[in-house]
Symmetry: D2
Subunit: 337 residues, 4 copies
């Protein structure tokens, strides 16, 4: 019983997901692909050597009778439309982040899914599928360090392009922490403040870099996240949870230990793709498996909405310098933790 | 194009390989299973929910027209017979270690395969598929530490059963290093000596534990391997290569770092299955892929033979206390490095 | 040429400094001791087996013709008076922190010392004498990590007594960072904010624990310091400097690495006395040496004043929840960096 | 009560010990210095700015009525003569390693000291005074890892001069382990074997480098020591004790942790003087203190003799390739553990 997938958006991520479904994962096959650029569709199909229908209209992919489930990897502003269409068609849909470009858009998806009466949407937040984060969550949940009181986090990239601006530190970068930290703590955010240290000389006028985001959760855990996207030395994700009687820290990626030239060292990754590559495989394999068993369990439309509400507050905190409240409506019973 | 696999031996390992092929790997399906115990066959088939033929005779599996390739996971002394039969049938065969219980048996397989004119055999040495070992080999091959001069290794298990005896430290335990170290160094062994420290009080009369095995390679690299199978504290595989201007060490498995109770710590595994679980997946996936492309690249019959020749010398070194020469015939061109 | 020291205050710290001068350090001898409690004086003299004058009045110690220099280790509120008296007597004085209990008091000492025309005062901030901090400063100053942009610090004690209250997190605990971080960065503070996470259940009503203090420096470096005085697991001082192209972190204290019971671990100290014990020796030895060469180089009255001004702002930040400006007058040329 | 020291030998080590006694340690002063080179004496005296007698004959130093104790830091072959003379004069003597250039010479010193009826000799083995080794010994003695079964050690120097030959790997390098490992294990050696891996291309014809020395103790602990004196990357001392239920490892020297240029690293020392500099201070301070209390406790003449007997066996093992027995006479009660 192979799951037949339709893919909307054949850019870099879409092409990679098609390859993943075809050559790495089990139990699914890509049967239809669409993109606003017909050449991209052909290239993606050829790249993975699959026998799939090339569609000019994304809605044809969604509606095709032979498509069991949909992957949305198109341009961000189109996500909402396609996800709503998939829900309307009663088909499970995996949507890359962001679920929608506004919190209102996310909310519309949440409402549509609740009206459909069944979970149909998974958002492409991959960190909960990373083995390191899973081990960290297991440690927290075990009670080994006691109740979490604080978190110290960092999200560092070696460099970003000229088009990356201050707000993107939230919408493109912090967005992963906004999802992952709620999940780790099993908690929601109450407020956020953003502080700007002196900027690195490696940045440009429209990007304040680094930034410190201070998030407070409903239960009072205080989180500082350093975002530093021109840190030069590597791609480095740090996450430390300070509990009542101990501290747990995200594992460093395994690496050969070297003794050379008067240094004892291990390597630090430089490309984000290497850091979470297995998590991408796992999130999509889980989507495929969960669709088959009829019970989606990954990041939900509600999680996408919650991240979007928090991101909006972070942007406002960046602009105002104030501590901004984060007000998320009560979690519907439809979306149990 | 799904590869149709026949599995000979439905004990613990066979059952696990059937599950792996069915639920984890891509591109293969188990279509026939045999075992001397018919109940084991039924149980293994049911465990993975597959639709496979239950055969009472292993040779029926090998001969079945619908079987493309064979996995041999039966009782050690039967490996040689089934591998030779698979070669005779012209079918690719993945054989769990040991390839045969004697070096002569391995040699017969090597000769049969060369007569067949094509690589058909892969031996189930999984360490070359472990990401840590691959990273270590990459470091060595990069020249970053210079020519290897020495290796310091350890193979530690928390405990073994009462039936585990001194010789099994070679045939069950060191056998993995005997394969992996040749591969890492791209070298062969010249001699071996075994030294016995005082034994741990946790052992019994028929098991000297720990042992130190000193291997010398053809190019003069001197390797010490500590084998300690009742070390109590964990399952711990250590491997350090000392080169002319630097040292490289096998990565420790990634683990959450804890600060609790006046200790800064990471965890050490205790079950060998956790340590190489992904390597098992990878070795078999590679076998499946390589069978499809028609070019086996994993550990060969020659590698199985070389490990067996070395193991025989190690056993003699255990008995005599002497330094024993390891004489491997010249590597046939049929088996390029 | 042995330096003759007078010690004012024979409590725990005074007694320990007398022992240090007598049995560990070089070039000094304690010749006079005073305390409001005559028994303490006798006990301290007996403890180190020295032949010193027991004085009932601290001013007799300061005035004694045979006393070359003074150590002030008395009750905090008396520091200012004795330091001013030593300055008036033209004698070098080493004063345990705080230099005075108010910033105004510190300022009076600064003014008196400048009027005396010569550095006579060293404040007992010992971290600049810790080898770890020195190595960290050397790394920063080398330019190896580029200009500092942020610091992430932690000051954790396993537990504190019932009398320890929220304000003491600043005056007793953070005070060390307030001195050490200025010194590390060669910078002064511009503002401070204090955030309170949920408190640990191990604290009491008058102590909010932990706290996060956010300091900004004149040049825009943003520093977060976690103060957590009931962290249970150990005495742990962390200090990480994030520069424009690299990060440097205070060394963990050297410790035997253990592999036991499925953990790979090193020890964490639990008693603050063990962490900086050598730094205490070094600071006092340096005072002795510097007095002899006539040029004090350790933490100055100005440093004591700067820490006091910052501490006052921190206390106000605790009370108000606001970001409080830290206004330090311009550094007099009398106190070069 | 200042101890008056006479120093025999004003070369590099003697000069440094004079500086140490004068400017770093407590309770001693150098009052007489001799050397075969009168210029060296003058230079050493001037270097430390002391007021000491310059003697042309070492025996004048030993005999001088104002000399309480003697430091022997002269040319190795003269050690025995001067130590025997000090014993004859009834004066405590600290002698740099080796105690004598032959085991017989060491034995004569042992006999002379026993005849004198009182411990007068301390040998300059400094590792027992290193904090790392002390912590390791404390861990072993605590029983935390169970009975020691094996040790894995390494002694690596970045490079040695052209005059360093194969035998010096024992007499100049391993000699430190020969003393320290007996002390750590509270055990004596039973046999030794030396194995030579392929040599590094950085060595020359008269130096086989690296070497592996396999020592067995009386109680059956098996020790491998890698000696690699042209390892290029640093000065690195490793020592790992494998016990019945755990492993303890010598601490790495504390170092700033860096994240730079895609590496997470700490520094490795390159100069042996930095590694044990504090241990040199401690060993001599302890000698001074112990002379004053009348009870020497440091490495004894017996320890010097035991190291010498072991070194002789190691040299024979190098030459013959055989396992050589190490036969130490029974420890006299005069030298309690």
């Amino acid at each position: 019983m192979t799951l037949q997938l339709g893919v909307i958006g054949a850019g870099a991520i879409g092409k990679e997901h098609i390859r993943r479904c075809t050559h790495t994962l089990q139990g699914a096959t890509v049967v239809a692909v669409s993109d606003i650029n017909a050449d991209s569709v052909r290239a993606a199909i050829a790249f993975s050597g699959i026998n799939a229908e090339a569609c000019s209209d994304a809605h044809d992919v969604i509606k095709a009778s032979y498509v069991d489930a949909v992957l949305v990897t198109s341009w961000d502003p189109t996500h909402e439309e396609y996800v709503l269409a998939a829900i309307a068609a009663g088909k499970p849909v995996f949507c890359e982040k962001p679920l929608a470009v506004t919190a209102e858009g996310c909310r519309r998806i949440v409402d549509a899914e609740m009206n459909a009466g069944k979970r149909l949407v998974q958002v492409g937040f991959m960190r909960p599928y990373d083995e390191g984060y899973q081990a960290l969550k297991k440690t927290i949940d075990s009670g080994e360090i006691g109740m979490p009181l604080m978190m110290h986090c960092a999200h560092r990239n070696p460099e970003v392009g000229e088009n990356y601006t201050t707000d993107m530190a939230i919408t493109n970068t912090l967005i992963h922490e906004l999802d992952a930290l709620r999940w780790l703590l099993n908690d929601d955010y109450r407020s956020v403040q953003v502080r700007f240290p002196r900027s690195t000389s490696a940045t440009h006028a429209r990007l304040k870099d680094p930034q410190i985001v201070m998030l407070e959760t409903q239960s009072g855990t205080l989180i500082d996240v350093e975002i530093f996207v021109n840190c030069r030395y590597g791609y480095d994700i740090q996450c430390e949870v300070v509990g009542e009687h101990g501290i747990a820290r995200l594992p460093e990626p395994a690496s050969v230990q070297l003794r050379t030239a008067a240094r004892l060292s291990t390597s630090i990754l430089t490309d984000w793709k290497d850091r979470f590559i297995k998590a991408y495989d796992t999130e999509l394999q889980n989507f495929i498996n969960d669709v088959k068993t009829g019970q989606l369990q990954g990041p939900s439309a509600w999680d996408g909405y919650a991240a979007s509400v928090a991101a909006d507050a972070c942007l406002k905190a960046q602009e105002t310098g104030e501590t901004i409240q984060i007000t998320l409506p009560q979690r519907p019973a439809f979306y149990p933790r």
